[in-house]
């Protein structure tokens, strides 16, 4: 992209191409063909829009142009005869290029197809960003720090499986909807986390992924306005993203939540997150994303770290533990309980987790236990636990932090 106009065209396509790809997939029953055709329409737009000006309804222009390209391609591939009935049917309802005809929004079906559990996980992520998000293969490859050819192959494999294994293009029927929606939410959250906490790649590109995940979650909420977990996920992303400016120092070190400069938080984003939670939690269908977002909102509502309502957070972790009974959630609940009611209360829960054994090799369990023992004044046990945590930590900065703590508990006299 070089000129401002070209960048603008690319931005329009990123925004509009998901709808066009979905509409064409519906018409031709072929995601690969739909995607190629939209890409060809983009090339036409780069040539014509600077001359003819931006179409009045860019989305309709893209869909119409891409459809024409798809028909050309079918003719070239001589599959025309077999699909002729589709084209005939289609021409009846074809809008003229500048028409205001509503293109039915099939992006929801496209999203469910891209996130079908029969596809490899990496393929689901790549295809969602490509087909629904309108990102180019090159952009996705750069964000995931893999060669463009590798990403292209990932996309090709996923699309081939859709076609050859008969993955349906539709919003799943009621008996499948709940589990398939969970899969879509998981894919969007993975994309977000890849951008938010990813350990490779340059910051700028990673940020893009989080922004794309938020945009896709907004689309999902618009398409499924009554689905509280979709809103919960959007809220969770917004609330985490609001801390972006405060969570990393200028030298790239992560800043713990307690130590962040809260004036750097994006308060517009916090308010958007709060609004989404308010709309989601009116129902009785509370799920993991709504609860995690609610926890993030309690943190966001504290003007200073010391103002944090830990009683509320501990209660929310209790609810989360009911819908998502994992040891990691339980560990977080223990830490919140310690903040709310004192270290001994948190240790009760943590000691149960230690007996359970599933988190034996999880350094955060040991560093959390060490911290609570330290605060409870049980220094000998604390030092022992710090040593275990240090042995399990692979992150250099964390190890340095734990070593400092270990020195503190073993040397300070009183």
């Amino acid at each position: 992209m070089s000129t401002p106009l070209e960048r603008e065209i690319a931005a329009v396509f990123r925004e509009e191409s998901g709808r066009a790809t979905a509409a064409l997939t519906r018409i031709f029953g072929d995601l690969d063909l739909a995607e190629e055709a939209v890409q060809e329409a983009f090339i036409v737009a780069l040539r014509r829009w600077p001359v003819d000006g931006m179409p009045r309804v860019p989305g309709a222009w893209i869909t119409t142009t891409a459809r024409r390209k798809a028909i050309d391609r079918l003719r070239r591939e001589q599959t025309f005869a077999r699909k002729a009935h589709l084209l005939a049917l289609d021409s009846v309802s074809a809008p003229d290029e500048e028409g205001d005809i509503d293109i039915p929004d099939d992006r929801l079906a496209l999203l469910f197809t891209c996130c079908h559990p029969a596809l490899p996980a990496e393929g689901q992520i790549a295809l969602t960003l490509r087909a629904v998000g309108g990102l180019t293969t090159r952009e996705i490859a750069r964000a995931f720090v893999v060669p463009e050819a590798t990403m292209a192959q990932r996309l090709t494999r996923a699309k081939a499986k859709i076609r050859r294994a008969g993955v349906p293009f539709r919003v799943p029927p009621p008996e499948l909807l709940e589990s398939r929606l969970q899969q879509v939410l998981r894919v969007l959250y993975l994309i977000f986390n890849e951008g938010y906490t990813g350990s490779v790649g340059t910051e700028l590109l990673r940020d893009d992924l989080s922004r794309e995940a938020i945009r896709l979650a907004e689309v999902l909420v618009a398409l499924l306005p009554d689905e509280p977990e979709a809103r919960g996920l959007l809220a969770l992303m917004l609330l985490h993203d609001s801390r972006r400016g405060a969570r990393v120092t200028t030298t790239g070190d992560l800043v713990p939540l307690d130590d962040q400069d809260r004036s750097l938080w994006d308060h517009d984003e916090i308010e958007r997150g709060r609004a989404e939670i308010d709309r989601a939690i009116t129902g009785d269908r509370v799920g993991q994303y709504q609860l995690q977002a609610a926890i993030a909102l309690v943190h966001a509502s504290a003007i200073m770290a010391a103002d944090t309502d830990w009683v509320h957070i501990a209660w929310l972790y209790g609810r989360l533990s009911e819908v998502q009974p994992t040891p990691v959630v339980e560990l977080n609940r223990a830490v919140a309980l310690a903040m709310a009611e004192g270290p001994e209360r948190g240790l009760l829960v943590i000691d149960r987790l230690c007996d359970d054994g599933r988190l034996d090799r999880y350094h955060l369990l040991h560093s959390a236990r060490a911290d609570l023992l330290r605060r409870a004044g049980r220094r000998v046990e604390s030092a022992e636990e710090y040593r275990i945590a240090i042995g399990l930590t692979e992150n250099e900065r964390e190890r340095a932090f734990l070593l400092r703590r270990l020195v503190e508990v073993t040397t300070s006299g009183s």
Partner: protein
């Protein structure tokens, strides 16, 4: 679309009790009746136990015949169904109902439709 549902499980170390065998056979009978009633059944067979298997490979024109299945896996192919379903979701729904899915696994594979240029039919 036609799909093959390939049923894999670990061979049991000890033979099942008569009651367990009867219940298992009955569950399969029920499943088979269900797919026939739904109009998706195209075929299927149960296979003799894996110790009866012989694998054939041809390498450099040499026919290599060996005892047992090709891969050293714990789970072995025990039988298959051939179903005609609208899409993957429908066939996955059937696969989950196969009795062996509870302890073994069912691999769902689309049946390859031979491209016209290779087809022997006119």
């Amino acid at each position: 679309m036609q799909y093959a549902l390939l049923i894999y499980s670990e061979p049991t170390a000890e033979p099942l009790s008569d009651e367990a065998t009867a219940a298992y056979m009955k569950a399969y009978q029920q499943f088979t009746e269900e797919v026939i009633a739904a109009g998706v059944m195209q075929g299927g067979e149960a296979l003799e136990e894996v110790s009866t298997a012989t694998t054939v490979r041809v390498r450099d024109d040499d026919v290599i015949t060996s005892d047992g299945p090709f891969a050293e896996t714990k789970e072995v192919l025990g039988g298959f169904y051939l179903l005609d379903c609208a899409d993957l979701d429908e066939v996955l729904g059937w696969a989950a109902k196969i009795p062996t899915a509870k302890h073994g696994s069912v691999e769902v594979r689309p049946v390859w439709s031979v491209p016209e240029e290779y087809s022997t039919e006119s």
